[in-house]
Symmetry: C2
Subunit: 450 residues, 2 copies
């Protein structure tokens, strides 16, 4: 049975909180999965969230804590002493504990760490705090299971039993040599079926051992786990010593965040923001693109003002200005979106640029032909056959140019190691606007013989 | 050591193929991970791809096959007899085998299945072909490990050994009752540490058992696995009988595809296309949005033609037409992107619509104020203080309206169960273009007293 959060459920819960109906709350909340409890608490006001949270036992508190929205978690933790926070962190995996600590106000961090009674755990957390949050080191956890090459299977099982207490999900056992260097891996399955005296060195696999380095970028880690279909990947330091592991659930979050960032960038938002962020933060994140858009508009005004005489003679030329700019923008964004996506996937990285531009040009020609035939009739109806020809001819030209620029610019950006996702969104639109206006008005002035 | 595909490596390989230097090929290719071999073959021409592929042993052929790009796989399979294809499928997991079969030409499907010698495998594949490819049934595989409630641990280990031969990655053991109904699960770890005579019924967990139904949508499956941090999820039929499992690697693909689709939709591409698709297919996928954009442009022309007299008197009014339409479009897309993302995540689903619109309006006012002050100076410089006031006032108004519509439209679409991602891209841009033009020219005509 999966839990479905509804408005009705929230109403009932809020009522139960007001009436202090602990029994109802225990029956309806305490059997839920921690992720569901967190999703309920996310929807409550501060005070109710606090009330429910404090009813949970300590271990579940920790599990719920890590599932909460960042701002709700921040509010909750403010109501705890540093000692209480430390106790909750002890129930978390090292990577989650480090993430929570990294969110705390700077002056509290040291105090919280000093209250962690398990020295090894405290050390792990301090170590993890050193890594950049967008690196493999920032993603990894210190909980993993390792076996030494010269162990027999029965010793391995005994050691595992000891280690496994701290490791919630065991996927793979990493095999190290006497210097703690990663040499291979072992599936739990093969251990389960091996005879007790077999040596690990006769059982482990080293072919196709995939690992990442602590300073690898988190996007790179995501790409590797995706490519090789891994559920966990060991992390080694520069000397190839095993220092941690990254599990797929954390990487799924990286993939989602990456997709969100691309989507926002394509929509003209320059920083990662969420709907719940402050008005200032949201405004600031949008400003750069709006400024680029406005600069484009000013350049456009400059182009049109160069044709002021023409427009005052044939005002009908102004009618199709928005059509030309809009279509140039749309075609440019479409072309660049395909290129950006194919670059992000690493597809066809060795295909020639010329071939891609040729293909996009052909698409531009096909669609341009269809639309310019339609628009001829409409331009004709608006004013005269001349206007029809002007609009039709320039629409076709603009679409062709937009397709070429939309393909070329992201490819060039990528060549110079600039994120090609910058190319979609207002940047390409703006360029095509200005170019489109120039083409349109030039053709207009020429054909009208002004 | 991770393999890095380079242009140099491809050149060397192509040379080796021409020289028939099997030794070099074996040394440099055969030790690679199957995913890397596939990425090499993806970059080769048909004939070379075929040559390399046929050098691999049968098991690796199958593993490489499933990692290849769809069109490369299609070309390769054309060179095999139905019997040979069947042999390769036998080395694949049932879900992968079903995926490959689903890509074959219809007239070959039956023949291939008839050549599969393992009857059980053939049955599994035929069963999987019945499910919609975007459902849990279409994602699941028939390879999983199950244990019965009344087994003792030692019987379970023996049975597992038998079952595990077919199951490449074991994450969780599913526990069923005598009617094959899913009742809970068991970690491999707990089995490893349990004493041989313990009953499964004393060992298994049923709390927080998450499963999906065969007809659940694949996006829903992805959301569930993400929310509950699962690496695999059991699939049950309508009677709660265990019929398959879905592993996280397949779901990662769903998440990526979903993100690609959203990105393309925001960029005005209506069908999932890839850079490698045919020119016709790409052209067709882009046409709907271009038609909407053109319709918007025609409506814009209609609006401007209503002000023809004003423009012929003050042609400078035409200068800022592109600026007004571009800014309305940009603001609208930004606002809608945030709403669409927050809807997709299911965040804040119970917040009021009015509150969201108020917030977006405030962001619009902040950015509108800053930009309209700048543009006043520029309009003034272009022609006169009056033009400065006209552009400044209308820019502010347009940005405010665009923010409101950008928020409102995706929320409304979502309310009526239409994908709100439709709202970003040309749709909102077009609406704001037309509205913006009307506001701008009306203010212009009024302030110029035309």
């Amino acid at each position: 049975m999966r839990f479905e959060l509804t408005r009705d459920f929230l109403n009932e819960l809020e009522e139960a909180i007001v009436k202090n109906d602990i029994k109802w709350i225990e029956e309806s909340i305490f059997n839920l999965h921690v992720a569901d409890i967190a999703s309920v608490i996310d929807e409550l006001d501060n005070q109710s969230a606090n009330f429910i949270y404090k009813l949970l036992d300590e271990e579940r508190q920790a599990d719920v804590l890590i599932e909460l929205d960042e701002d709700i978690r921040e509010d909750l933790l403010k109501t705890f002493s540093t000692k209480e926070i430390a106790r909750q962190l002890e129930n978390l995996d090292s990577d989650d504990a480090a993430d929570v600590i990294a969110e705390l106000p700077k002056d509290k961090v040291e105090e919280v760490i000093s209250h962690i009674t398990d020295d090894e755990a405290a050390e792990d957390i301090v170590d993890l705090l050193n890594y950049d949050e967008d690196s493999a080191g920032g993603l990894m956890q210190k909980e993993f299971i390792k076996a030494k090459l010269d162990w027999p299977v029965n010793r391995c099982v005994v050691e595992l039993r000891r280690q496994a207490e701290n490791v919630e999900k065991v996927f793979t056992i990493y095999v190290v040599d006497n210097d703690d260097r990663l040499v291979g891996f072992l599936s739990l399955k093969s251990l389960l079926f091996a005879s007790p005296n077999t040596k690990i060195s006769d059982l482990f696999q080293d072919r196709n051992m995939i690992s990442v380095k602590t300073n690898d970028d988190s996007e790179e880690v995501a790409k590797i786990m995706e490519k090789y279909d891994l559920v966990s990947v060991p992390v080694v330091d520069l000397q190839n010593k095993l220092v941690g592991r990254i599990t797929i659930d954390d990487v799924v979050d990286v993939i989602k965040e990456e997709a969100d960032k691309d989507f926002q960038m394509a929509s003209g938002i320059s920083e990662m923001v969420e709907a719940s962020d402050s008005i200032w933060r949201i405004s600031r994140a949008r400003m750069p693109w709006l400024l680029i858009g406005m600069l484009g508009g000013i350049l456009g005004a400059q182009v049109i003002s160069g044709f002021e005489g023409g427009i005052s003679e044939v005002p009908a030329l102004a009618f199709f200005i928005p059509l030309i700019t809009a279509m140039g923008g749309n075609v440019g964004v479409q072309s660049s979106a395909i290129v950006v996506q194919s670059l992000a996937k690493g597809n066809d990285q060795f295909g020639s640029i010329l071939k891609k531009i040729l293909k996009e040009s052909l698409v531009g020609i096909v669609n341009g032909l269809v639309l310019s035939i339609i628009i001829y009739g409409i331009g004709h109806a608006f004013e005269s056959p001349v206007l029809g020809i002007v609009v039709s001819l320039s629409l076709f030209t603009v679409m062709l140019f937009a397709a070429i620029f939309g393909t070329l610019i992201p490819l060039l950006l990528d060549k110079y190691n600039i994120d090609p996702a910058l190319a979609t969104g207002p940047f390409i639109t703006t360029l095509n606007d200005v170019l489109g206006l120039f083409i349109y008005l030039t053709i207009g002035v020429l054909l009208y013989g002004i």
